[in-house]
């Protein structure tokens, strides 16, 4: 065997800068067709809700407007989604309906997520008795059927958007508590937690400055997936007459009243139903895309 010695290889390192993790995540996201489609769908729903007065062909249809000349019109150039039993334009009502749905999402998640996350952080970080109390309380809340809870609340209070929101919020935080609890438990064995303790950091610092940043990607994926389910649950409540009341345009209520005219005037239930499907599908595709992009398990 002849000895082999090659001349010294040039030490020029990879001069081109490597991608940052954000660039890599963006690469993964944009190469994932369903994620991009989901993002476009969610964006269209949000924009439609924000610019409802400009976009809707007949803004007055959102209120208690009556136009018996045009009742039960099938979808056409003038009325894209048809008209309902009092002649209101369903397309306009759907756009306004997204406003109600999205405000429900913001209201519910705006309260449930911070509450659930803080409880999860505390349960995971403090362990022992705190953990036991918080997690068993969470288990109890998880055992309550959501619809029964909503029925109970609206029976005590009155059916309205705010009360529907309260009912959903009261049960929704549990999922975030469990998610964060699990992540924090896994992070607690990492040395950086002990390093922070040795550095003399306070409990609040470790929970909110050290642990929380490591939960952010999981929370954002969860929120995106949640949004679709909150819309669905809100629509279910309205369909059952426990949520938003007429004439406020709500997708669930529209499906409910439209279903009285099935199958003859099918568009009256079908179009709002498809609108619900569209929004939920968008949020779910986006959530799945984010999950792949940030490489987290939810």
């Amino acid at each position: 065997m002849m000895p082999v010695v090659t001349p010294e290889i040039s030490t020029q390192h990879n001069t081109e800068r490597l991608m940052t993790s954000n660039q890599m995540a963006w690469f993964r996201f944009t190469r994932n067709p369903s994620a991009v489609i989901g993002a476009v769908m969610v964006l269209s729903v949000v924009l439609a809700a924000i610019f409802a007065p400009i976009l809707s062909p007949s803004p007055q249809s959102a209120g208690s407007f009556v136009d018996f000349a045009h009742r039960h019109h099938a979808p056409s150039i003038d009325f894209w989604f048809g008209t309902d039993n009092v002649g209101r334009d369903i397309f306009s009502r759907v756009i306004y309906g997204y406003r109600v749905s999205l405000s429900l999402v913001v209201g519910v998640l705006g309260v449930a997520v911070p509450f659930g996350v803080v409880l999860g952080l505390m349960a995971g970080y403090f362990a022992g008795r705190t953990e036991f109390v918080i997690m068993r309380f969470t288990d109890v809340m998880l055992a309550i059927p959501p619809l029964a809870m909503a029925l109970a609340i609206t029976a005590v209070l009155s059916p309205s958007l705010i009360n529907a929101m309260i009912a959903i919020t009261m049960l929704w935080w549990t999922w975030h508590t469990r998610l964060i609890y699990r992540i924090v438990k896994a992070q607690m064995s990492e040395d950086y937690i002990e390093a922070a303790k040795v550095a003399g950091a306070s409990h609040a610092h470790i929970m909110f400055k050290e642990l929380l940043p490591n939960c952010v990607s999981a929370i954002s994926v969860k929120i995106s997936l949640d949004a679709g389910f909150v819309i669905l649950f809100g629509a279910t409540l309205s369909f059952l007459g426990l949520g938003v009341h007429p004439p406020t345009p709500d997708l669930g209520t529209m499906v409910s009243t439209g279903s009285e005219y099935l199958p003859e005037f099918w568009w009256e239930a079908m179009m709002p139903g498809l609108a619900i499907l569209y929004a939920i599908l968008g949020f779910n595709l986006l959530g799945d895309g984010l999950r792949d992009m940030m490489d987290v398990e939810v």
């Binding site: 065997m1 000895p3 010294e8 290889i9 040395d191 950086y192 002990e194 040795v198 550095a199």
Partner: protein, 566 residues
């Protein structure tokens, strides 16, 4: 020279990820003859594992892509074989011994079941059938070959019931089951303690001779290479830069990279050893008196019974100001528990620790204590928060010792300079830094509040040898500049020889020997210390001669008492 059993010629391989192509192997050629032991060495990231995976055919393609070259095994070009043909060679022609004996088993299946699966599937691929009892007989015979005579018990045991060394032996037995002609060993024994590793290397050497195997060894440990190879290939960033016989490589390395690798291995004996001295001894900094730590755990139904493990048993230590005090020992010897007690993270079950003459529980002011003693962890990947920037992490100890915003800013800049990092790194996240740079940040964080004592918990064991040296040099420089006392926890005795002025050897929770590093290494008294020192792989014949000599029986005795079959 006989015809090569494995021949890789001008292999070029690239990876395409995120739309960018990176060539990882450049014209790699190597060959292994029948009965020959060949080692492939290099730093992590040099391409040695990619080469190995290309040979056994487990690289995912894409992203990997073989651009040119060939790999032939016993005259057949592996790259042109169909998938079933290629699979038939796995295990029967080429077999592999995996690196990590802890992770390579399925924890819920018995060893026998897992070995039987390997045999059975190989038979299905080859179209032969043997009865279950024939297979069992073969498994027991193979276990015997790897010096596990109690084969029947091992056959029925679950992986967790075996010690690390036994699991490594079972892994070797698994690789031998189908009578391969070529054995590939990926970092054999590196996950094990040195005394056990030595046994495994001896076993591999014996097997290669007895079974007429060829061996391809993939490792970064030059000491291991010297003991277990006939020829060596040195790999640097995808190139084979030097290939020669074992004796030539070690006595006369030609390529600058090989020379650099050799120079980085800390010497155990001889003139390459760096003596570290304490210039002003005599001032006790840490006094540990008869300290014991029991870990108790409630178990059983209704948690009524208590079981207890003694991790540290009546340890006495005196560490003087300016010392680099090494605490050596194998995994599970209690050295990390001892370190955590010094930091006040665990309370001793009995005994007392005094720092600067004050008992540790006298420090009612936690801030004062934190300014006195800090720690650098083993793995900077875990000890730095992945979601916070370098500045944010350096600021934590300062924020909690009442520093103002402005003084934190100047101090973090100062700290980065102290550990030789450019100021632009302040806003980076840990994943943007290399392992060595991360460890520098961790050192800077520990130093931020000007502690007098640093506990170094294996600070270089997660790093490559080349990087390890720069970190050690930095630590020595900082010790001079800042007048620090180090407590250095490690299992790497060669490193300890070159970094510590005093050492204590821990064995099963007790300190079995302590003294000046020079004396302990020159004249080890305790049987365990002797076994440890004699097992360390070294890179020159001179050092080999200077190591204490012990017989196999003596080492077996030590092993038997340190790793019991549970």
């Amino acid at each position: 020279m006989s015809t090569p059993i494995l021949e890789v010629s001008s292999l070029n391989l690239s990876f395409t990820t995120y739309g960018r192509r990176a060539q990882v192997l450049h014209d790699v050629s190597l060959s292994v003859s029948k009965g020959e032991r060949v080692a492939l060495i290099g730093q992590s990231g040099s391409g040695k594992t990619v080469t190995m995976r290309a040979i056994i055919g487990t690289l995912p393609m894409p992203p990997a892509n073989i651009e040119s070259g060939s790999i032939s095994f016993e005259g057949r070009d592996l790259l042109n074989l169909t998938k079933p043909e290629r699979n038939r060679i796995k295990g029967t022609g080429i077999s592999i011994v995996l690196q990590d004996p802890l992770l390579s088993f399925n924890p819920v299946l018995t060893i026998g079941r897992q070995m039987d699966d390997i045999l059975r599937y190989a038979e299905i691929r080859l179209g032969q059938r043997q009865s279950a009892s024939q297979r069992k007989a073969l498994i027991l015979k193979t276990l015997n070959k790897v010096q596990l005579p109690q084969g029947v018990q091992i056959f029925d045991a679950y992986p967790m019931m075996l010690s690390g060394g036994m699991r490594q032996r079972v892994l070797i037995a698994m690789a031998l089951l189908n009578k391969p002609r070529l054995l590939i060993a990926d970092e054999p024994g590196t996950a094990l303690d040195v005394t056990t590793q030595k046994e495994i290397l001896n076993l591999l050497n014996k097997l290669v001779k007895d079974e007429e195997l060829s061996l391809l060894l993939i490792t970064h440990d030059l000491g291991v290479v010297r003991e277990i190879s006939d020829r060596v290939y040195v790999m640097e960033r995808g190139h084979i830069v030097e290939a020669n016989t074992n004796e030539e490589i070690f006595s006369n390395p030609v390529h600058p990279y090989t020379q650099k690798l050799m120079a980085c291995v800390p010497a155990l004996y001889g003139e390459r050893v760096r003596e570290v001295k304490n210039d002003q001894p005599g001032r006790p900094k840490i006094q540990v008196a008869a300290i014991t730590k029991d870990f108790t755990q409630r178990s059983g139904f209704f948690k009524r019974t208590w079981s207890s493990v003694r991790a540290v048993n009546s340890v006495n230590l005196e560490i003087e100001s300016g010392d680099v005090f090494g605490i050596a020992g194998e995994s599970g010897s209690g050295k990390t528990t001892l370190a955590k007690m010094l930091l006040g993270l665990h309370l001793p079950s009995s005994g007392q620790i005094k720092i600067d003459g004050r008992p540790i529980n006298d420090f009612s002011d936690a801030k004062e204590f934190r300014k006195l003693i800090q720690i650098v962890y083993q793995n900077p990947g875990s000890s730095l928060n992945p979601k916070r920037t370098v500045t944010q992490q350096l600021a934590v100890p300062l924020t909690f010792t009442n520093h103002s915003k402005a003084s934190i800013m100047t101090r973090t800049a100062e700290l980065l300079e102290m550990v030789d990092l450019p100021p632009s790194y302040a806003s980076m996240y840990p994943h943007e830094l290399s392992g060595g740079q991360k460890q520098r940040v961790a050192i800077a964080r520990a130093l931020s509040v000007n502690p007098k004592i640093l506990v170094l918990d294996e600070p270089t064991s997660a790093l490559d040898v080349l990087i390890q040296n720069t970190v050690i040099d930095l630590l020595l420089k900082l010790r001079q500049e800042l007048d620090l006392t180090y407590v250095f926890i490690s299992h790497d005795l060669s490193l300890m020889r070159n970094f510590c002025n005093r050492v204590a050897i821990m064995f099963r929770g007790e300190i079995c020997e302590q003294g000046l590093t020079r004396d302990v290494f020159a004249n080890p008294k305790h049987a365990y210390t002797r076994a440890l020192l004699s097992s360390i792989p070294v890179i020159s014949e001179r050092e080999e001669r200077l190591k204490p000599k012990i017989t196999t029986a003596e080492r077996q005795a030590v092993l038997a008492s340190s790793t019991a079959l549970t």
